[in-house]
Amino acid sequence: MLRRASKTVSLLAAAVLALAACTPGNPAEGNKTIKVAYQKTDSFTALDTMFQDAKKEFEAANQGVTVELQPIQGNDDDYGTKLALALRSPSTAPDVFYEDTFKVRSDVDAGYLLNLDGRLAGWGEWDKFDDAAKEAGKADDGGTYAVPLGTDTRAIWYNRKVFEAAGVALPWRPSSWQDILDTARKIKAASPDVIPFNMYAGKGTGEGTVMQGFYELLYGTGAGLYDPDSKKWVVGSTGFKDSLTFLKTLYSENLAVAPAEALDPNVWKKVFGEWFPKAKLGAAVEGSYAPSFWQDGGSYAWPGYEQEMGVAPFPTQNGGAPGAVSMSGGWTLAVGAETKQPDLAFNFLTTALNAKNSLAFTVASSQIAVRSDVAADPSYQSANPFVKDVSGLVAVTRFRPATSDYPRISAAVQEATEAVITGSRTPEQAAADYDTAVAGIVGGDKTIRK
């Protein structure tokens, strides 16, 4: 019995190897190929669409060139890891890739990104890009290494139905942290099974934790993460502790989601796809791209979201100037430093980011335009009723410190929020742990007490 079985197995195995040998290896040895790596998820396909279009356009215009699209499936964190793994080896590094703005500097330091200065100078459309957005692609040496795709801001998104049920006057515009807590408690009292006000926390949601949560708090206290003048990282600030305390209040009074749920990396999908549409959530700090999920063709299409949702700026701690806080991030396209066809790769990049493709992508993913021609386009301005509100936040928005130590600092912040919402540390202890961690990452001489 077994004898026959093992014979079958070895035959099978031999067949497999023979077939494997026939499987085509790297396609198009002689032809020129451009490898493009980017992120694609079931709720984020706009970029995939953009590259598919750009591929057709580019291959039609350049005979003999093949654009090999390599979508990487995964959330931001996993995408970051996979991209970093691929970039480290010249044999697997893509020619063109989708790069988070906050990683640009550390990847330039690592030598992964090609300097685009000369090529950009020869590209007629480069002046159409917004100056603030261009900053995101610059490195410490002043050179530009990445071209922005779009940017975003963060605000409070709230469900009008929930607020009305609790008797909150609309439109809602909280003026301080206390205002938020009062409203959240009111909602809790009116409808106990609704989550009143969610802010992300913990390591599960990664950059979402800090971008749609902690930094809105921290920058509203007057404190900061990094002191650009002295080029040092801020430790020991009262603002940091206050921000953690606010999160603790939110989570311990059950005004936000249960901590166990907050740590789930997929919690944001429930926010967009389940809780808001079902009026199970009062408000949440989220990105300006929120409508991209709800609009027609979005991954959680929700007809009538325009009427049911409202948006408000996130207030400063006690309502002090400028009265609102927002954070901006955004993504870029970059060219690999060791690409064999730098010109082709750059040309592909410009095709992907031309006016037509940029407009389609900006609208589909509800980005804030970085090209003046896109921003002026009527189809962009009328894409959803919130474009004006969230674009207005550009006036008060902040960017993450663009240094190569940032990703690790961010991880330390996430760790601190997780420790606080799970109750394993008090805000004071977590803040002290953070200070130690920062000193460990950048060295004690690169920190400053404020």
């Binding site: 195995a13 497999v16 190897l17 494997a20 079931d42 390599q70 499936q73 996979k82 010249p90 697997t92």
Partner: protein, 294 residues
Amino acid sequence: MTIPKQAARRRPGRQLRRRPAPGHTRGSAWADGALLLIGACFLLPLLWLVLGSLDPAAGHGTKVPQQPGLENFAAVLTPELLFRPLWNSLLLSAGTGMVTLAAAVLAAYPLSRYRSRFNTPFMYGILFGTCLPVTAIMVPVYGLFVQLRLLDSLPATVLFLAATSLPMAIWMTRNFMDAVPLALEEAAWVDGASRLAALRSIVLPLMRPGLGVVFIFVFIQAWGNFFVPFVLLLSEARQPAAVSIFSFFGQHGAVAYGQLAAFSILYSIPVLALYVIVARGSGNALALAGAVRG
């Protein structure tokens, strides 16, 4: 000097089914009960997989589907989601199985047939190698692959997987080879056959069941391995099912539980089937006896 070792050791896997232990009848009722209880506990986590896969509206909860159907299976039966990753898994596992088996047989022969001071330390070294926590060396292995430009290469990943399963495979293969009486081989030498010919025509055929066990053991391990291909294979087109199912979980995990369950089942069936083949052939013990006894 090396002397061919005399006679065989125990024959692993062949001495099951002895007389029942004393006290069989008296104790069997409560033994049955206790065993069934433990068995039920072991099946519980699998219940969700089976029920969820048949329930188009599945959540994390385990419940009998209200309208059972095969929609979940239909949804994941696509080339991109299922067939290509499974094909990659097959290449990876079969390749690993064969490389491992070939290297293990070659290594086992001298270890089984000659006596030398070299054997004992080597076997202990091998035993030690079985224990190396593979997760601990993934970072340097990644570094090695970067340096040698082997990242994202299926054959290189096969070689690495083969290296990690080799210690166990050599250990098992040597014990199986010990069980083949030397006398048979000697008869062939008398007839003028070379050692290699005797190995091929006498020893290997006799060991075939054992080799099948080793192959399948390695195959199952490679089939299930997630971490190694996750780190070493980057492009979607080369990823085995273990990795594609992980990204499926990351993206659809909060939404399509039923499809995840269906995907998991389709991915597990081949190894479960393989195991059943071995188990029926050589008794339940997978001849681990031979592998583990020193």
